[in-house]
Amino acid sequence: MQNDELLQVAGMSAFYGQFRALTEIDFSVAPGEIVAVIGANGAGKSTFLRSLINHAGTATGSVRFHGTEILGKSTAEIINRGIMLVPEGRRLFPSLTVDENLRLGWEVGRRDGMTADEYFSIFPAIAGLRKRPAGALSGGQQQMVAFGRALLASPQLLLCDEISLGLAPLVVDELYAVLPKLRDRGLGIVIVEQDIRRALKVADRFYCLLEGRVSLTGRPGEYTRADVSHAYFGSH
Amino acid sequence: MTDLPLPPTSRHAPVVFGRTIVIALVALAVSAPWLTDANALQLGTQFLCLLTVALMWNLLAGYADILSLGQHMFIGVGAYAFYGLAANLSVMPHIAIPLAGIIALLAALPVVFVVFRLRAAYLAVGTWVVAEVFMLVAGRIPGFGLGTGTSLPLSTAKAMGATALDRAVSIYLLALAVALVAWLGTWMLLRSRHGIALMAIRDNEEAASSLGVNLIRTRLGVFLWTAPFLGMVGAITALQKMRISPTASFGFLDWTVFVIFIVVIGGIGSLEGPLIGTIVYFALRYALSDYGTWYLIVLGGVSVAVMLVEPRGLWALLRRWIGEDVIPVSHRAPKQ
């Protein structure tokens, strides 16, 4: 079973200097699976995602991608192997055009997956904005371009950090509707999300983080609200 | 470092040792006129002048986050002001020196107005341009020797003493007085409310500005603070050399290049750093004096290495051993 996993994390801890942000995380994603990571502010969700691409503090333990250890490899190399992040706050290059932003994704990736044409067929709203500076786009459009930058890198594992943050519900619906389509193409997807209900609706499995540890994991239907709430907030 | 069960009131031995050295150095500096000859006193004067300038450059770079490549402008202004007062207006040297400091401060006012329009790294080169302007203008003032410079009149020398030793002692004591006032003043400044603001800038600029520390005003104030001391050093150096000239009085190599190396090697952002750096500088100068350009290459190489390995210089290495500041500037609760 283990060899079928796309990503296999075992006993990962992450540190910012002396501060331990994550403790002994065990985690896995299979191809064609959407996994949600939920948890309160400061639980370590973003740190976890960024640690997977070696872009947060220093991590120990094991992170295997397609069975190969990638912990400690450079961000550029990990991305080139097929893991790409849609960062929190979109983080486009505002003075670069939409095309240029997308093209950068293509350049850092494996160049064997989604093409620009396919991307524009998924997000037709962006096709008319290709020559615009990304900074001139609305928040929702920027999030779509951030998606595109990640998808054009041909990832097999897509990491989505707080993609609903600050966006109108209709736009968020549109973005979330895309996730199952990507799953059907065989991508593994990890979503970090504040909006638990939305995350659990789309996810096949979830992990709940509490103070840097996994406090609960399973399928969304397996647990009661109270269970999840307890894992989310800790024992109060 | 030590696990000895010291009683709570006692200090670690290295701190006591460090403070003993500082006190011994001050005692040596004060008693030097009775212990040594004119040559040693001239060297001592140079040491104190360079130490004062290093302290001021460090105050800017290490505490106020201002990197200046043009502080030699105030040395030159002080030297020329001193010449104007002592030679042209026959003011007594002892009075002309503090006046030269005040003139340097007045010169700093428009400078601040111009260079602080440039931000961060640009300010560094901007101050250099202003220093070039001062030097070029100094070389065109009638009555000050124009481009080649001029000597101070003998009467100015005579006012400092009858014999060479007397003169060396008087000039040395002036340099010592300026150095002590500069050190005590800067130490008190760092321990004041403004000093705490400065250290807040040094340690975390964003936090400092969110705490309402007025960054610009504090920085301007520090820049102005350095000018009179640099001006007085310029005046004392002119008095010692009995000469002013645009290239020497506004010497970039002597008053900016060497000073930067001193502070970087000794340790930016501490009061101990400039002292250590100046001692190391004089030792290296003594050891490598026959090697000319290699001396500068070594200083450049060492300071690059310091920035790569330990940006807080030799003092940071020593401090790890000593465990606390030898010259304390922060109001910390006494250690257990």
């Binding site: 550029a76 670069l96 | 202003v130 302007v133 940006p311």
Partner: protein, 288 residues
């Protein structure tokens, strides 16, 4: 009389071509790597001495020496970033300034040690002596005119590279948001090193034309740095065509002042610079 001043202004404009060549590399360092490289002028002087070695010690013709110099300096820029500057690029304001400051002193004194303090220049044959008459009493030298032309072509080429190529998009991305660039998988250090290779190549061009037009010695670097710095601040940081305008302004100011009193030439350039940052600290060609 008016012809005299037309000539003076024209010479200033052409001098601006040389100053633009000094400044292009610094503008790229500042714009892409966010590095105010105190050793920029010394890199130009270093390149000039490499030309001295190639032409005089190896006896190669100047044009061939220059063709060798360009990749040499580009490689030097690349290695400088990857081997040294990379370690201080994101460490705040002081470390990059102080490391390049130390580098500047090392280059100057290394050149003094190797070549002595004598001034040097290159011999460009007829190019240096021929002049064209544009109108009655109005002349331009062939070399100054060629210098300005090369500056214009170089700025145009770099402008197209930065704003019209995929590599340029990468440079802009790294310049604009280095942390984001790293987060999405760009090799920021490598892009910085390639930018410094580009800077190195421009110093080769600057070195050639400087050595043809004026004398230099091992300590000439700081003077070139200050001119380059004044040009990029006047032109507005991050504006390539502003470089040309800033350089011409500085050249004309120096040329006109020099015609009045030759000792005023350098001072006038600095004063124009200070006056303009006082009035328009964002530079002449940048909106505030």
């Amino acid at each position: 009389m008016s012809e005299f001043y037309i000539n003076v202004v024209l010479q200033g404009v052409l001098l601006g071509g040389l100053y633009a060549l000094f400044a292009i590399g610094l503008a790229l360092s500042v714009g892409i790597v966010r590095l105010v490289n105190i050793a920029h002028g010394d890199l130009i002087i270093l390149a000039s001495y490499v030309l001295v070695v190639l032409t005089q010690s190896f006896g190669l013709p100047l044009w061939l020496s220059f063709l060798i110099l360009v990749p040499l300096m580009a490689g030097f820029g690349y290695v400088l970033q990857q081997g040294l500057l990379r370690h201080v690029t994101d460490k705040g304001m002081l470390p990059p300034l102080l490391v390049t400051f130390g580098l500047s002193v090392i280059i100057q004194n290394g050149l003094l040690e190797g070549f002595g303090a004598d001034t040097r220049s290159f011999s460009g044959g007829a190019l240096q002596t021929s002049t064209w008459q544009l109108a009655e009493g109005i002349y331009v030298g062939a070399l100054p005119a060629l210098t300005l032309l090369v500056a214009v072509v170089l700025i145009f080429a770099i402008d197209r590279l930065i704003y019209g190529s995929h590599f340029g998009a990468r440079l802009r991305a790294v310049s604009e948001a280095p942390a984001t660039a790293a987060l999405v998988g760009l090799r920021v250090n490598r892009v910085h090193a390639l930018a410094l290779a580009l800077v190195g190549a421009t110093t080769a061009v600057a070195a050639l034309f400087m050595g043809l037009r004026m004398n230099f010695d091992p300590l000439s670097g700081p003077g070139r740095l200050i001119i380059a710095f004044e040009v990029i601040v006047l032109g507005g940081l991050g504006n390539l065509w502003g470089i040309l305008a800033g350089a011409i302004l500085l050249g004309v100011a120096q040329s006109v002042a020099g015609a009045i009193d030759v000792r005023l030439q350098v001072l006038a350039g600095h004063l124009v610079f200070l006056l303009i940052i006082l009035l328009r600290p964002q530079g002449l060609f940048q909106r505030s």
